[in-house]
């Protein structure tokens, strides 16, 4: 298995992926930024609550949340995905100092998953109202569907 800056790598449908623990996360991204990945095109998270048995390379322990960071190198036209495993309640370091463009994305992840980012300058809810309860994209958060109106309902 290949290692990139000490982190196991993977390949998902031909797309390069690197797995990092929370401790490795910030140093890894720093090194990657030096490697020429000069834009963080996307940062999001996944809640694997109901799908724990996903395929991961050896040495990576599956945890509930996964932070997914898509980096882009404008010069080499390459993309690299960093996947970071997180426990519920664990906070991740903010990438704000490296990529200021992640400010809104991290806020969105905080809003939707409740994952806190240390050293984020303004970690408040971004999409939901401030007084909203819960984090909607968590798997244990209900969709909030209501029955559709019909004149004659038997369901």
């Amino acid at each position: 298995m290949d290692l990139l800056h000490g982190c196991p790598t993977g390949d998902s449908r031909g797309q390069a992926t690197v797995f990092a623990s929370v401790e490795q996360y910030l140093p890894l991204v720093k090194k990657l930024a030096d490697d020429g990945y000069n834009m963080c095109s996307d940062l999001t998270a996944v809640d694997y609550l109901t799908h724990p048995g996903r395929a991961l390379p050896e040495g990576v322990e599956a945890k509930r949340f996964e932070l997914v960071v898509n980096l882009l190198s404008l010069d080499d036209r390459k993309r690299l995905r960093v996947r970071v495993q997180l426990e519920d309640g664990q906070s991740a370091p903010s990438l704000f100092d490296l990529y200021p463009g992640t400010e809104a994305m991290e806020r969105e992840v905080f809003d939707m998953y409740g994952i806190a980012f240390t050293n984020h300058p303004d970690l408040t809810r971004i999409l939901m109202p401030e007084d909203w309860d819960g984090h909607p994209l968590r798997k244990d958060y209900e969709l909030g569907q209501i029955p559709v109106q019909f004149k004659q309902v038997n369901s």
């Binding site: 999409l127 939901m128 109202p129 909203w132 909607p136 958060y141 209900e142 969709l143 909030g144 569907q145 209501i146 029955p147 559709v148 109106q149 019909f150 004149k151 004659q152 309902v153 038997n154 369901s155």
Partner: protein, 195 residues
């Protein structure tokens, strides 16, 4: 005095029709139907079609409605065009409250009318839970012609005098509680909440 009491209670509409007030009322209705300025309350996809209605191919100005007022104080019709999120709902109500009487609401598109396909935590399931709605335009988004139909339906209601007074909020969004009843032998429509 019956007349005085009626007027005190109900204002203009309390006056029994004589030839002056009847004509005046006709004039007022006519003018309200011919010059209903919309408040621009564009939210999502429907706002794009609402603007398309104002553009050259459909030209809402034929009805004297190209005067989209940014200030709710001067607007008569609020066209709620698009999905109303829980975060937006208080703003919607505030803008509605800022509008001056008489005022009407068109709920444009299914997202505004009932949440449409977004039956979830984020969207208000029907703006009639927040403001009283007079006309619902279906479609996602409604074509400009559907919007024109909805507007003309509303104008018809205004002109025939069915809608001169403030409506009270019906609260009958999609969230209305429908009793799950066994299907009877003959289909009998279940009445939803009345206005």
């Amino acid at each position: 005095m019956g007349l005085l009491q009626d007027v005190l209670d109900e204002g203009f509409s309390g006056i029994q029709h004589n030839f002056i007030t009847a004509k005046l009322e006709d004039l007022v209705r006519w003018s309200r139907a011919r010059s209903s300025w919309p408040a621009s309350f564009g939210l999502a996809c429907c706002a794009i079609e609402m603007m398309a209605t104002g553009a050259a191919h459909y030209d809402i100005s034929r009805f004297g409605m190209e005067v989209f007022r940014a200030s709710p104080r001067q607007a008569d019709i609020m066209i709620v065009a698009g999905r109303v999120s829980q975060k937006m709902a208080p703003v919607l109500r505030q803008v509605y409250d800022q509008m001056m009487e008489p005022k009407w609401v068109i709920s444009m598109g299914v997202c505004a009318s009932s949440g449409g396909m977004f039956n979830n935590y984020a969207i208000v399931q029907g703006v009639d839970q927040v403001v009283p709605v007079d006309v619902y335009a279906p479609g996602c988004p409604p074509t400009p012609e559907t919007l024109i139909h909805a507007i003309e339906t509303l104008h018809g209601l205004i002109e025939t005098g069915e809608l001169l007074k403030r409506r009270s909020a019906s609260g009958s969004g999609a969230n209305v509680h429908v009793e799950a009843a066994p299907v009877p032998a003959q289909p009998v429509p279940v009445m939803l909440g009345t206005r």
